[in-house]
């Protein structure tokens, strides 16, 4: 087990090298991707599951990164969007027998709508109020899932069917490894494209100086709402595949701690820096595995780590400035 942990930790090596020399970024990414593609047979089931989980968190963290890292909005209830995706798919497939691939766009739409409902009236608020509102929203979603019949109450939903894709039944852990790897790659691709776009720059303008951004003709509420909706869709996508991967979901998967963990990935790696956020996602998933011996101290170690990062290196562990430069 320990040997496999070290193996997982070594995957961070090439990522760090990329930071040293931006010219190596392309080839290094290619090699990394190739390694991840051929790795599963060598990994064994434990490492496969851990890495799959890490890919899931890459998607979640990159989604939250758009909200926190780009638009500068502190969202403490991001797990709500993760839940919306998971429950939409869970309920529609399990209770109504709808095909997974049909429920996926519905989940995205519902999450987008949830983003508008919560974001529309609140994005004008001061940033700390917004943080609390999102926290409250996250708890409302979790408690509602706990108390409603259609969501299966406290025990949640079980027996969510695993999807078929052109005759391929996505069922084994290795299948899901590839599915989540693809999702993570897609999330990175979309993040990079957005970061270098008109909308991506607008997020940064608003984040650095709202008044100056308004004076430049940027509608800050609209731009923030766009970040919120896109972030929500990332979360919902992750939730949808999370539901079919596990086959069962319960409210406790979408607690405040979940939101905090995703936020930790973003902050530890480096807000607004795509490679940093990817690294952060791996750290929050693989870190606790490496710290297994520490027992109850694991979360404390992480919390202290987060505090130290904020005090001494608020730009995160990833070296260099924001991505896309």
């Amino acid at each position: 087990m320990a040997g496999r942990n070290i193996q997982a930790a070594r995957l961070l090596g090439p990522l760090a090298a990329v930071a040293e020399n931006p010219r190596l970024r392309g080839p290094a990414l290619g090699i990394l991707l190739a390694v991840l593609l051929i790795a599963p047979p060598a990994l064994g089931s434990y490492a496969t599951v851990i890495l799959t989980n890490a890919f899931l968190y890459v998607v979640l963290a990159l989604g939250l990164n758009i909200v926190v890292g780009y638009a500068g909005l502190l969202d403490l209830g991001y797990a709500a969007f993760f839940a919306v995706g998971a429950y939409t798919v869970g309920i529609l497939t399990e209770r109504f027998g709808v095909n997974f691939w049909v429920t996926l766009p519905i989940a995205l739409a519902v999450a987008g709508l949830a983003g508008v409902i919560i974001g529309g009236p609140t994005l004008r608020l001061r940033s700390d109020y917004l943080a609390i509102v999102t926290l409250g929203f996250g708890e409302i979603v979790r408690i509602s899932a706990r108390n409603m019949k259609i969501t299966g109450s406290a025990s949640g939903l079980t027996g969510i069917e695993q999807p078929w894709l052109f005759g391929w039944h996505i069922a084994t852990p290795r299948d899901f490894y590839y599915v989540f790897l693809l999702l993570a790659v897609l999330a990175v691709f979309i993040s990079v494209r957005l970061a270098g776009s008109r909308l991506g720059r607008a997020w940064l303008y608003v984040r650095y100086d709202e008044d100056a951004a308004e004076a430049m003709g940027i509608d800050r509420v609209r731009v923030k709402l766009a970040a919120y909706i896109i972030g929500a869709m990332f979360g919902a996508t992750a939730g949808a595949f999370f539901a079919v991967n596990l086959g069962a979901i319960s409210p406790e998967s979408f607690s405040f701690n979940q939101s905090v963990l995703i936020l930790m990935a973003v902050v530890l790696g480096g807000m607004g820096k795509i490679p940093g956020v990817i690294l952060g996602a791996f750290v929050v998933i693989i870190g606790p595995e490496l710290l297994r011996a520490a027992g109850d101290l694991r979360l404390l170690i992480f919390a202290i780590f987060l505090l130290l990062i904020m005090l001494f290196r608020p730009s995160g562990i990833w070296p260099g400035r924001r991505a896309g430069r």
Binding site: D128, G136, N147, L299, I304, M310
Partner: protein, 304 residues
């Protein structure tokens, strides 16, 4: 039970709940006043206050017993100890960040909250800790309504602390300086006020009030848990916002209003105890969206 009895009963419950909310809300509002920071760790300091009060009581109960006398003493010790912890947190974590972007200081506050929670989690193994006291179950009957002595002592203690705070803020040099710092740091420096020291005093007082509430809540409900500060932190923040953040009478008023709203809200058919937190969060969101300045808060300069 007749409707009037239910109302009277919920009035008492609401007052007790509201006293806790108000004490915790006061710290939020005072700290927000002087450094414009939403101290996410405040609810956790309430939790730590409960544990410190429990430890203090365990240490002294052999001498003073664990009735209200012992609990008062334990509460005072907890207020002093946790008040110092509050000052320490301010010096280590918030002070260096006062001029950093708001996002950074908010995340720092969240990190402090997580450190406190997980430190207690590690120490207690995540188990509930029983808070043993010798408090009786006596009380008085006012017609069909029963009010326990514990409830009366608790509300009276909270009221006493609030009166003491009001005196501190309006009649002492530190209190007046605190109100001045809340208005303008630079002006205070020009007037020779040690802003940094006043921020420290504010953290001490605000945190001590949360610790008092934590100890009393532990004694009243009979148990402690590392996560108990999370919900009350949120609700106390709601109370502070209802009253108008930065306003001390507002925090007291907001605490009572929220306590009453919650205890009556759970009586509304269809809400019930399973939905009572949703009810509180819904109130929070509605207040923030519709009237972010609260009942007694000052509105900020009009801007589009």
């Amino acid at each position: 039970m007749s409707l009037s009895v239910i109302i009277a009963h919920q009035l008492v419950n609401g007052l007790v709940l509201g006293s806790f909310y108000a004490l915790v809300a006061l710290g939020y509002t005072m700290i927000f006043g002087v450094i414009k920071l939403l101290n996410f760790a405040h609810g956790d300091l309430y939790m730590v206050g409960g544990f410190v009060g429990f430890l203090a009581l365990s240490a002294i109960s052999g001498v003073v017993g664990s009735g209200w006398g012992g609990i008062f003493l334990a509460m005072l010790l907890s207020m002093i100890g946790v008040g110092c912890l509050g000052v320490l947190i301010e010096r280590i974590a918030y002070h260096p960040m006062l001029h950093a972007p708001r996002l950074s200081i908010l995340i720092t506050a969240l990190a402090v909250s997580l450190v406190l929670q997980n430190a207690v989690l590690a120490l207690t193994g995540g188990q509930y800790t029983a808070f043993h006291t010798d408090l009786g179950f006596g009380g008085i009957h006012l017609g069909p309504i029963f009010i326990s002595y514990n409830q009366m002592v608790l509300v009276a203690t909270a009221a006493g602390l609030m009166v003491a705070l009001e005196f501190f803020v309006t009649h002492t040099q530190y209190g007046r300086a605190m109100r001045a710092v809340a208005i303008d740091h630079d002006m205070c420096r020009l007037m020779g006020i040690d802003v940094s020291a006043i921020i420290g005093v504010t953290f001490f007082v605000g945190t001590a009030l949360a610790a008092a509430a934590g100890t009393m809540a532990g004694a009243y409900y009979g148990s402690l848990w590392y996560f108990m500060g999370f919900l009350i932190g949120l609700k106390a923040f709601t109370a502070a916002v209802i009253g108008g953040i930065g306003s001390i009478p507002g925090a007291m008023l907001g605490g009572l209003i929220l306590g009453l709203l919650e205890s009556f809200g759970t009586q509304i058919p269809g809400i019930g105890s399973a939905w009572k937190d949703v009810f509180a969060f819904a109130v929070l969101i509605l207040v923030l969206v519709l009237k972010p300045t609260g009942l007694l808060g000052k509105s900020e300069q009009e801007r589009m």
